[in-house]
Amino acid sequence: MDIIDNLNAVKRGKLSRRAFNRSLLAAGVGLFSAPLLPRKALAAEGDHPTFFTWGGFDIGELYQPYEAANGALPNFSIFGGTEEALTKMRGGFVVDAAHPCNVGLKRWVDSGLFQPVDTSRLANWGDVMPELVAMQGNDNGAGSPWMVPFDWGGTSITYRTDIFELEGEESWDMLWDERYAGRLGSLASGGDAWWCGAIKAGVDFKDIATDMAFEKIAAELRAQRPLIRVYTDDTTTLEQALASGEMAAAMTWNSSAVLLQSEEVPVKFAKPKEGQLTWVCGIMIHKDAPNLEKTYEMIDAMLSVETGKFMINDYGYGHSNLKAFDEFDEDTLKSLGLSKNPAAILDEGHFMIPQSQDWESRMNETFELVKAGF
């Protein structure tokens, strides 16, 4: 995922060759030597913090104030998914900060690997959307958050307007449409697909942990499986398949639709009548962070309006700084599927609720059985 995301970034001139090589290195080394890495493997690169994040978040535009103050970017270590990241950290990989999402929040906190955030050290904290801070399980009991919200968005269906013949309203049924058997795609991670299955099955997220919900969702996903060409977490695979017409519709994040539209592929990011899946990701600080001071500086840079402006415009994701939205007019935001009142978007969708480790294991195993054809 990282490599192709990065390739795209290079193609669009958003990533320097040096940064690209570094992230290639990180991805390669990460894949093949995860268990071998010594603790604080990357601490050697000066006194800059190491941020353990998704591919595509390791570019200078997201850290401008930090770079201006320090003359360099933070160090990056790249993961392909948050589960992989948590596993690696539980295995002893120490970074300064990492980039999980709200559904994993409880488990990340339970792992005991993180420290609460001292928000008084963040100059931009006052502009952070309170709805995002108040996500379930984010309070450490003493009023400090565990996670600083950073990016948020939706998971929905990106479809080719010239290929997919819409019958009535946009709906999750589109990804179950037998007319397009073998031409539909899905994200492979249960963190997205299972929750979208829940919306399709009409399961309220409050009840998602019940046995009944498990059965209903699994049944929906089993019915969908024969129609799916590929399950992948590599968003570029889905984007390319949509661009070439190999797929008529696929489950993606908003960034895929924004990217394809910028390349003039006739696609739309559906607003399903049942509501889309909404999520928020953010930054958590490792309890043994070697460069705590600079870590706060990095987080503050990520919360800045400059960063928000870039992320909204180029990635099409929401940003946690409310003021970043003031940089755009209503029409631009609308074309990106966002609005001046971001909270409304979150309210319209289904916001993921943090789940226990047992739930997560069961969900992943069940979804894997479904994908394998059981």
Partner: protein, 310 residues
């Protein structure tokens, strides 16, 4: 040896020198000396192979409990591995895919190795280096390359379409077991070429000349001399490809599609998203045992056939 030991016990001043110490022991005991000389390799083996393996074995008898482990010894994971159909299906699929990939690789590499061993007379090393050239790039990139080649708008599909041979792109090329087999056969080719080349190169040419003098044609010469004598190379090539590919997870993850996942993907899943390290350990052990069993059968069969050939 005894000289060294006796002179080592006393110095010119008459005082005993380290007579009970380590140095003396080192001189006196050839066994200890042997172990000490082996020790760097031994340490690496213990730390790098034996210890991780023991941890894996022990962990496979634990169970997952939230984030941690319940360390009560139980065979529950093994019972689960034996009873739930998904594990069996994936195991059989892995052996099937990697078995086919192994056969394809050896069949494709044998003629190449044969050509270099018998028909190339100058710059042999250059040929070998050229054939192992793909190994100079990362495994991951080679798999990605196949994704580009086999893809919907890939090299094969677009060539066939430009040539007018097909109307629409062939979809079975990518996201299928075929794709996994093709990529594995290419990615591991060097592991087959080298042992095959070595065993073919070692064959005494005078045997072939003698057979020719006695009236054997090229086919008979190959079947009666070259093939049996290159069997050790075929066997090691088979092992070198079969064992690692059975547990491979990158290739099926990228090229396999919904029906192409293999046992390695299940193991990765247990260690990753499912967070059940004990179950992952159990599956790894089960896989190892099965590979060992298959390997033993293979050795037995080839030994028999080798005897009958010679």
């Amino acid at each position: 040896m005894s000289d060294a030991a006796s002179t080592g016990t006393a110095t010119s001043s008459g005082k005993p020198r380290a007579s009970t110490g380590f140095a003396a022991l080192f001189h006196r005991s050839p066994t200890l000396r042997g172990y000490l000389m082996l020790s760097p390799a031994l340490v690496i083996m213990v730390i790098g192979v034996l210890l991780p393996f023991l941890i894996l074995v022990v962990m496979s008898f634990w169970t997952r409990e939230g984030f941690g482990f319940d360390t009560t010894i139980t065979a529950a994971n093994y019972a689960r591995a034996a009873s739930e159909p998904i594990f069996g299906v994936f195991l059989i699929r892995s052996f099937w895919v990697s078995g086919i990939a192994t056969i394809v690789t050896v069949l494709l590499c044998y003629p190449m190795a044969y050509y270099v061993a018998f028909h190339v007379h100058r710059h042999k090393m250059l040929w070998i280096i050229l054939m192992t050239l793909p190994f100079w790039t990362s495994y991951l990139l080679r798999v990605f390359a196949w994704k580009v080649i086999l893809g919907y708008e890939g090299v094969i599909n677009s060539s066939l379409m430009t040539a007018g041979l097909i109307e629409a792109p062939l979809e079975f090329l990518l996201y299928s077991q075929t794709a996994v087999i093709i990529a594995l056969a290419h990615a591991w080719a060097a592991f087959a070429i080298l042992p095959l080349y070595v065993s073919l190169e070692k064959i005494d040419r005078s045997l072939l000349e003698a057979a020719a003098d006695l009236g054997d044609g090229p086919v008979k010469r190959f079947l009666r001399i070259t093939l049996p004598l290159s069997l050790p190379g075929i066997i090691s090539a088979t092992f070198l490809i079969f064992i690692p590919t059975t547990g491979d997870y990158i290739t099926p993850a990228l090229l396999g599609g919904p029906d192409g996942a293999m046992i390695g993907n299940l193991i990765q899943l247990q260690f990753g998203a499912v967070n059940n390290w004990p179950m992952g350990a159990t599956l790894s052990i089960v896989l190892m045992l099965w590979i060992a069993a298959v390997a033993l059968v293979f050795i037995f069969v080839t030994r028999k056939s080798k005897e009958s050939l010679i």
